[in-house]
Symmetry: C2
Subunit: 815 residues, 2 copies
Amino acid sequence: MSAAAKSADQPLSAQDLTSIDAWWRASNYLAVGQIYLMDNALLRRPLAAEDVKPRLLGHWGTSPGQNFLYAHLNHQIINRDLDMIYLSGPGHGGPSLVAAGWLEGTYSQVYSHVGTDERGLNVLFRQFSFPGGIPSHVAPETPGSIHEGGELGYVLSHAYGAAFDNPDLVVAAVIGDGEAETGPLATAWHSNKFLNPRLDGTVLPILHLNGYKIANPTVLDRIPRQELEALMVGYGHRPYFFEAGFDDEEPAQFHQRFAALLSEVLDEIARIRTEATDGILTGRPRWPMIVFRTPKGWTGPEEVDGLPVEGTWRSHQVPMAAVRGNEDYTRLLEEWMRSYRPEDLFDEDGRIVEQIARNNPVGTRRMSANPHANGGMLTRDLDLPDWQEYAVDVPSPGGANAEATRVLGTWVADVIERNRETFRVFGPDETHSNRLGAAVETGGKTWVAEVVDTDVDLSPTGRVMEVLSEHQCQGWLEGYLLTGRHGLLNSYEAFVHIVDSMFNQHAKWLDATRDIPWRVPVPSLNYLLSSHVWRQDHNGFSHQDPGFLDVVMNKTADVIRIYLPPDANTLLSTYDHCLRSKNYVNVVVSGKQPGPQWLSAQDAALHCARGIGIWDWAGSEVAGEKPDVVLGCAGDVPTVEAIAAARLLAEHLPELRVRVINVVDLMRLQDEREHPHGLSHRDFDSFFTTDRPVIFAFHGYPSLVHRLTYRRTNHSNIHVRGFKEQGTTTTPFDMLMMNDLDRYRLVADVIDRVPGLAERAAGLRQAMLDMRVRARNYTREHGEDLPEVAQWVFNDEDNTQGSGAPGADTGGDND
Amino acid sequence: MSAAAKSADQPLSAQDLTSIDAWWRASNYLAVGQIYLMDNALLRRPLAAEDVKPRLLGHWGTSPGQNFLYAHLNHQIINRDLDMIYLSGPGHGGPSLVAAGWLEGTYSQVYSHVGTDERGLNVLFRQFSFPGGIPSHVAPETPGSIHEGGELGYVLSHAYGAAFDNPDLVVAAVIGDGEAETGPLATAWHSNKFLNPRLDGTVLPILHLNGYKIANPTVLDRIPRQELEALMVGYGHRPYFFEAGFDDEEPAQFHQRFAALLSEVLDEIARIRTEATDGILTGRPRWPMIVFRTPKGWTGPEEVDGLPVEGTWRSHQVPMAAVRGNEDYTRLLEEWMRSYRPEDLFDEDGRIVEQIARNNPVGTRRMSANPHANGGMLTRDLDLPDWQEYAVDVPSPGGANAEATRVLGTWVADVIERNRETFRVFGPDETHSNRLGAAVETGGKTWVAEVVDTDVDLSPTGRVMEVLSEHQCQGWLEGYLLTGRHGLLNSYEAFVHIVDSMFNQHAKWLDATRDIPWRVPVPSLNYLLSSHVWRQDHNGFSHQDPGFLDVVMNKTADVIRIYLPPDANTLLSTYDHCLRSKNYVNVVVSGKQPGPQWLSAQDAALHCARGIGIWDWAGSEVAGEKPDVVLGCAGDVPTVEAIAAARLLAEHLPELRVRVINVVDLMRLQDEREHPHGLSHRDFDSFFTTDRPVIFAFHGYPSLVHRLTYRRTNHSNIHVRGFKEQGTTTTPFDMLMMNDLDRYRLVADVIDRVPGLAERAAGLRQAMLDMRVRARNYTREHGEDLPEVAQWVFNDEDNTQGSGAPGADTGGDND
């Protein structure tokens, strides 16, 4: 750098200015080339029809602005030796980020068939959005990406997730102004209340205001400047406004202006961080952010067919469609591409000239090669305490009583303790309600906003992150995982549907990475769904929905796992397994209410390893004989009912041979050809027989069990009881009866389905139905369950045994 | 009103003040009573254990603040003769809104068993969150409610939806500060850019800042006042701040202060509306909003067991749990309830005293009895143009080519034209992309923010509402429907998962209303899912997901309908049906790409009426003989493949008897006992036979067809092809091949499954597989589909025939 040539207003030396501009032109050229061309990448000859792709798929509109940002960020990375990654909110700007990766050489390093020369360039262009090629988004295939942006709204949450516990990292998060209209993005701005300026990294939000979405203006572009400024101040930021491309200002000038602005912003960030490190700053700083206003499709065709294109929504995708075979469009395209002066950008071999290379950082400082964006490279396994030491003592099946999630919480607390920099718990204000209180007390809750006397457990170094937005929690966790750390998200079961589509995208991301050799596996995304459908005491019908499991089941078997541990020790064992796994989405459903415990630690470990098991102690089989009926169960509450039903049968029909099977790993029900955990047909038959009636008590919608088993030999005999969309605010046992999942109904089901039993056990059947009536009437009169059924359907002890402290959590609840 | 007693600072007369305060105390008393008591409602005797519910379920924290607001809003309704409804964001404040309904007499009018006297009061208390009683939320059972709030974040969207096209309505929307952290709420503030101040009603947002969620402080309570103010200004509002309850100010004083503030706010609203009506105001006004800061659990126990309760999260649910049998708590509860001086509130019979009644508006001015909150009362049927006049001319099956949604758009345009005040189209910036362009051009797009020269179709009176937030679109539409108007939401199929949980809640709402006689049916919620899984050309894998149908299927059959029209005329017929229906959720999936047309208008009407049909012209059956194989299909793209497969079979295996069945109403596949549209087993068997192989080409995940048919006689012979989570950015036919849904695979499937064919047709089978290889190779080389398969898999003509205007929409796209 030649200091003499620079000033605060003109911070770039002539050489830097030339480099940045060349880098920008090159990346623009590459973006256009990827969208349009399948050959003749360097325009060695006039563009011909066969050079142009027959299907033009890609988004030009956001690319030039992002290229500009990337070029300038590179300059700062080099100058300041920054450890920075880049998240592209409007992720369909794939051409931009692929271009950057290629310019930086990373692309050719991870994809050897896409070389750094003319031949490579032709491959690069052709493969984009082309059959057998790469997606149009900033997909997993794009080096440097942890954020596809396929669905909008998550870039800031991902950015903050990446920054947590990475004090030296700067995350540049480019937010599309369309994206900014989504709910998740609108609330994600408040993430700064959860970022520790000393121990976490920095997020630099850059609002890319280019005015249009697909076919409409954007809201934030069409409010007065003072409102936009107030909004950013309201979000806790100090906004810096930059605007270019709307007049005839020379590139040299707007480059200098942006370099000056970016320097100022990065100086401010450095000052904040120094003050935080030195302990001068203790509260929440007002972090800078940039409003970056440039025309949509900047530098592209100003007009096509007499209609304005640059600066309008017509630039959103391809400024001219149907170029192939259209002579005018072809000439326009060629002219456009030549406007970047490719002859000055690439040498004879098609390699980038030194002027451009100068603006590339080196090695892992390249944003396309930063290991944080390939998080598995940085992952350290968790130091996990031995879960068996936290196990409940279960002298005999049913011989102990515990709240499964509360027990898990004690273990999670120590997981936090041992892994203070690599593990976090996320939840939408429900972690305490879900009885992971020990984790909250040990970890503290992250909070960098104001506090008052009555607050408890809040801390700027908290490890439990709570905000009333499932989107925010999920987004943070995804960012945290994709940069190589570990975590879990706990939520009420019904509300996890809020992030159905985020789950989908993450599962698809993981699925895609399995075919990308250079992507190192990252820790799994772990859900803990509590306050589930059977115990939504406070809330009733609107909170009763176990359908997330159905959503999950639609994703690739390679990626998804569903566990329904029946008690505390199986929950511990399951979670120990989940926190050791990689590249999965593990969904664990477990209640928080007191309930009977079935398995000792040792038995739980074995049961979970098998995923499914015959519980001899619960049934009445005789060795060597086929059972008369199989009672299957999956889920904590259905397990209680199945076992209660088995006991009733043993008492009243002692000669009946009942087999009880508990399923903890739901994927075991599937065919081994469908899922790696699936049972072979032979094994399945040995569990469920080939011809005996099976009554299956299931946590979720019954159709899911049918879906998993419909090809099984004995499927026509499988009768599933589960949630059938009946519910309200009522007692736990009444909920079971409303859905025909209660023990009495299960006994009646057995009688109905075991051949010959209908007549012989008619009296018992009637007695069972009478019990249902009695239970219902008792509940309606007394407002609680009949004592004899409540024995195993524990109401919260706080609530029934007189120990209710103020604010004691008394069941399912939500703000 | 005694004017002498009032001033701007002290606007309430002594009598009004007394009335408001008594109304507030009464509603607080009723809220506490509902949560805690099952008898002794008027505390005629000291509280005993048996008076207290054994299970305490409900939320006190938000109730007193909302009661205060309701009391003051009532006063203004009376004074100004306002037409106002009340939406309670933190909807679990059920006790508050039920109390209001009872005080206003509405509750006893709609529920005659809950009288206005002491006996009624005892019933009111007992039924709350009690088995056989009512939910704890502001559920459909609550008169005056259109917003349950079971899941948080939608109150502002619902409020705006209610206000659109209701110029005389004021919607008071109380937003919980926990709720304010959700994404949907965070973006919903921007709804004011879409509200016409002359032709729409008024939304008055009231941010209820009470500091805590379930177990955490709220973000908006813990940012500096100037940031909160900036945030509201940034959202386009003029905020008014009110705070009470944190010191020893007398109720008389804070009532006066709030009455003054509310008057000022309502004066300002009146001024804005007058100016808008008079044409003085043309742009977007800065609407007022109120920040209402009061302690959580205001007026409740200050301390329990030495811990602070009022003003903390410990007030969120029940301040003291486990009261029953706890003498101290019982006394504390009684003291608390007596602090409201029930003896001054209720007369000997338990009826409210005149002082309270004075603060109740009359008749439909009562917010609990306002017909807008029971929207079916106000619904006018749509004036629908005859869809057959918009139909495509189809001389023979496959003999015409059209884009289904574009055709639908022409009809929707005229639906808009004829119903300018009662019908709107909603979509997340995709209405044009989904080719409903005619609707956009006729209706215009609602926009009250700034405009620039390059904008098109924007108008403050637009009927198409676009914002890049599926949450916002869905929330607006729900509010619009629940107040009795009509609409449809169009979305890319993959992204509708974003509102899975909103769909769930709305479906549950509709389900619940079916058992509430006084709720008048409202128009159905209509989805149009286009840019579906098979034609996500621009976006690829991340946008490929047909799983919304699976989510929908989990809800009650009484409420849900799924339609998969195979072409334009069936789409028209289907939508005509949907827009006439009430209390359903209709999900319609239809592509937007050019495709072959099968049915004339008349045939389409018949086919849609039946929901399922054998397409003789497509098959090769011989009358009186059983077919050898059945080719089923549902969805536009699978229908093309099934028919192409049938043609291949007819050509190469002319002796094979093939039956082609198209399913437009997916519910027809279900058992008639499961769904009102379901086929009887006999009818199903007559379609699908009892023993012939069935190859079913399905739009979505194959498991859904199995789920619908697994109890059918012939189920073990049903082989379903559908989306199996394989995809990327590629050509349409390549997508089909990746998922084994292409015509060649279907022919091979037939050969594999028809007994005896395997050997005889081995050559054809190999030829089919060879064709797949050829098609794949062609695609990889040329970047487009083999011409012979593209014949029916139309690429967009814009893109392939050289007519691409700038910005032409060239496939699936999203910002």
